[in-house]
Amino acid sequence: MKLRSLLPGFFLVLLFFSAALISYIWTPFDVTLIDIKARFQAPSATHWLGTDHYGRDMFSMLMVGARTSIAVAFVAVGIGMLFGIPLGLAAAANSGRFIDETIMRGNDLVFAFPALLIAIMITAVYGPGALNAIIAIGIFNIPVFARLSRGAALSLWKRDYILAARAAGKGVARISFEHIMPNITNLLIVQGTIQFSLGILAEAGLSFVGLGAQPPTPSWGRMLADSQTLIMMEPRLAVLPGLAILLTVLGLNLLGDGLRDWLDPRLRHER
């Protein structure tokens, strides 16, 4: 079995999620403290990953950056699932009718606006910030989950056991809840991890161009933006945040792959 994806993925995710959670109560150094005298220090026993151009401890910066990225991606996935899944199920349950067509066209419309464009529009009007990043990424997640749930549910509605439930007199909503939902949960979990990792990349991109979390909140994206001009002097400042993003996203993807194989009914039960 594909446990070789699941385990490394799980541990990477655990590592960064723990860092993010722990950062709420403790970081080795205070990230808001600027100490010019201590800038550009190489990794040492005190500063495990060295300091940046303002003398801030890199390790602590990365921890708090983890919190930002993960929190934004988490809420964005939540928004996507909360609104997207019921829409998709409703569309499948009313396949071919007006409500299905409307939801499909709505999906198409949102897909015409890449997440970045939505963020730009919101930022242009309301100003930049983490909340806007969450809304922009979240809005883009809604049609993703709607389309996925609709597709999976449509193929289930044709199954005989759904007909049997209807013959037993159960209504559409009840069938969606009792029969359809449990059978698409696996698919949704796997997609959830994928959207989570995409959310992290999106948040980093938005922060990179200044549209995400604003100073003084550290974020990996902005750390990279700041390091651009200093890349010749101190490449470490560019490499570390990028690696952090890479490893978190990689971990989530591996976890998603591993979960997909682990949850696959064909591998668990013999026919």
Binding site: R159, Y161, L163, A164, R166, A167, A168, G169, H179
Partner: protein, 538 residues
């Protein structure tokens, strides 16, 4: 049969295992040019694997031992390149599922021409011309079926003809047909089998016909072998085997195929239970023009049907005749566009929402035992689902007891209630489906091709169960099937349906013995018959 010739193909002690699981055990058989060998077996018997071994199209992880000699060539030791020049050229193969056997994005002409161009050095135009000739031979005249047609524009029977055209285009010495007609209608099956027999006769080709249907083998094959669990149990000339039925397994298969369950045939005519009057069901068709009203397809066209309490009524017809739509309309799963349904003399509201009171009287058993159940629920929950329609469904211990007794009445045990559905075989799942239909003691159970997907021996057992339940519970059945022999064994009356209408109705025996309508006669003529044998019971 030419005994003087050496066999064209001979397998000697062929054993196969896939990923260390033994599949075939010392299989030996022979085929002579110009003759037909039938391989008979139930699912899991290894018959398809035997065919794939001859073609060397086995899955990864296979290890094959033994001798396969084809026209002087040792198949087991040939290289893949050599096999590629044998496949399609000297040996052709036809598979079971015609609907998915053709490449959906290529025209039928180019798919046939490809086989020709692969083995003979001809120009593209010549290969297309030859393809046209072959397609005519298999009954697809170019005028109606030009080479530029795509597979999705053809029916199942027509697609199977294209597959046969591909297989025989280069006039191979051997044709392997693996369940070529199982997925087809009775009349189409007869046509395809006739076509295959014709091709064999015309070019002195040998054929291996693999099937689970004893009747087909008895009509088509010269020699036959019977397989079970990867072993060959019996072999010989078809005539001899059917005359003598010496091997116990052969006899058991034969008995199961011709099995008639015991039923209490003494029934007084009681008041009608369900009456359909001028029932009409329509579907909107895909739009052909951009504007204007959508055209409607009439699946059920003014059908009258009466089922009395305790009686078993059969509804036969080929695919697309509307029988499934009728069943769904009766269950309230499909809208009604005209006519009425009366239950116990009271008219049901038209439209899809049936009252719970009505649903209490009717339940259903479907065809596919593998998709009839939610794989995530335990059996207890699956069987108890219809309890939803009762006003006061039993809860807790009373419910558990009811589930247990119902499972026992279909031949399972109370302990099975805690298992998941994937732990059961096809036949057992159908029993669970029957239990689910039975649990609220409906007056009528609709069986929509309920035994069609089962092996012959399992089918016989399930039919026995159904007969016994009808007698003990006073159930009425609407038995929908395309399989005439099954319908004959379990129904009191039969209705024959074609293109949405009932073309003939009457007592089962009189319909089968002296059919009146042209279509009924055609259906009965097309169905393959088992030979009556001296050692047959009843």
């Amino acid at each position: 049969m030419n005994d003087s010739k050496a066999p064209l193909l001979s397998l000697t002690n062929v054993s196969l295992s896939i990923h260390n699981t033994p599949i075939l055990h010392e299989v030996s058989l022979q085929v002579r040019a110009g003759s037909v060998l039938g391989i008979i077996g139930e699912s899991g018997s290894g018959k398809s694997m035997t065919a794939l071994s001859i073609m060397q199209l086995l899955p990864q992880g296979s290890s094959l031992s033994g001798d396969i000699l084809f026209d002087g060539v040792d198949i087991v030791t040939t290289t893949e390149d050599q096999m590629c020049s044998i496949r399609g050229n000297d040996i052709g193969m036809v598979f079971q599922e015609p609907m998915t056997a053709l490449n959906p994005v290529q025209t039928i002409g180019s798919q046939v021409a490809e086989c020709i161009a692969l083995h003979k050095s001809v120009s593209r135009r010549e290969s297309m011309q030859q393809a046209a000739v072959v397609l005519e031979q298999v009954g697809l005249p170019n005028a109606e079926f030009p080479l530029t047609r795509y597979p999705h524009e053809l029916s199942g029977g027509q697609r199977q003809r294209v597959v046969i055209a591909i297989a025989v285009a280069l006039q191979p010495k051997l044709l392997i047909a693996d369940e070529p007609t199982t997925a087809l209608d009775v009349t189409t099956q007869a046509e395809i089998l006739a076509l295959l027999q014709q091709l064999v006769k015309d070019s002195d080709m040998a054929m291996i016909l693999i099937t689970h249907d004893l009747a087909v083998v008895s009509e088509v094959a010269d020699t036959m072998v019977i397989m079970r669990d990867g072993h060959i149990l019996d072999s010989g000339s078809t005539r001899t085997i059917f005359d003598e039925l010496s091997h116990p397994y052969t006899k058991a298969l034969f008995d199961a195929s011709s099995h008639v369950p015991e039923r209490d045939n003494e029934k007084e005519k009681i008041a009608p239970l369900v009456e359909l009057t001028n029932l009409v069901c329509e579907y909107p068709m895909a739009r052909r023009t951009m504007f204007g009203p959508r055209q409607m397809f009439r699946a059920v066209n003014k059908v009258n049907l009466t089922i009395h309490a305790g009686e078993s009524v059969g509804l036969v017809g080929e695919s697309g005749c509307g029988k499934s739509t009728l069943a769904k309309a009766l269950l309230g799963l499909s809208p009604i566009n005209g006519g009425s349904i009366m239950l116990h003399g009271v008219q049901l509201q038209t439209g899809v929402a049936l009252s719970r009171r009505v649903r209490r009287e009717m339940q259903v058993v479907f065809q596919d035992p593998y998709s009839s159940f939610n794989p995530r629920h335990r059996v207890a929950r699956l069987v108890a689902e219809p309890l939803h329609v009762l006003d006061n469904p039993p809860k807790g211990a009373a419910r558990a007891t009811l589930v247990r007794t119902t499972l026992e009445s279909v031949g399972l045990t109370g302990g099975d209630a805690d298992k998941y559905i994937h732990e059961f075989s096809g036949g057992q799942r159908q029993r669970i489906a029957i239990a689910r239909a039975l649990i609220i003691r409906p007056a009528l159970i609709i069986l929509d091709e309920a035994v069609s997907a089962l092996d012959v021996s399992v089918r016989a057992q399930v039919l026995d169960l159904l007969a016994e339940l009808a007698d003990s519970h006073g159930l009425a059945y609407l038995f929908i099937s395309h399989d005439l022999s099954v319908v004959r064994s379990i129904t009191d009356r039969v209705l024959v349906m074609k293109d949405g209408q009932i073309v003939e109705r009457g007592d089962t025996e009189s319909i089968f013995v002296s059919p009146q309508h042209r279509y009924t006669k055609a259906l009965l003529a097309a169905a393959p018959q088992l030979p009556s044998s001296a050692s047959q019971t009843g």
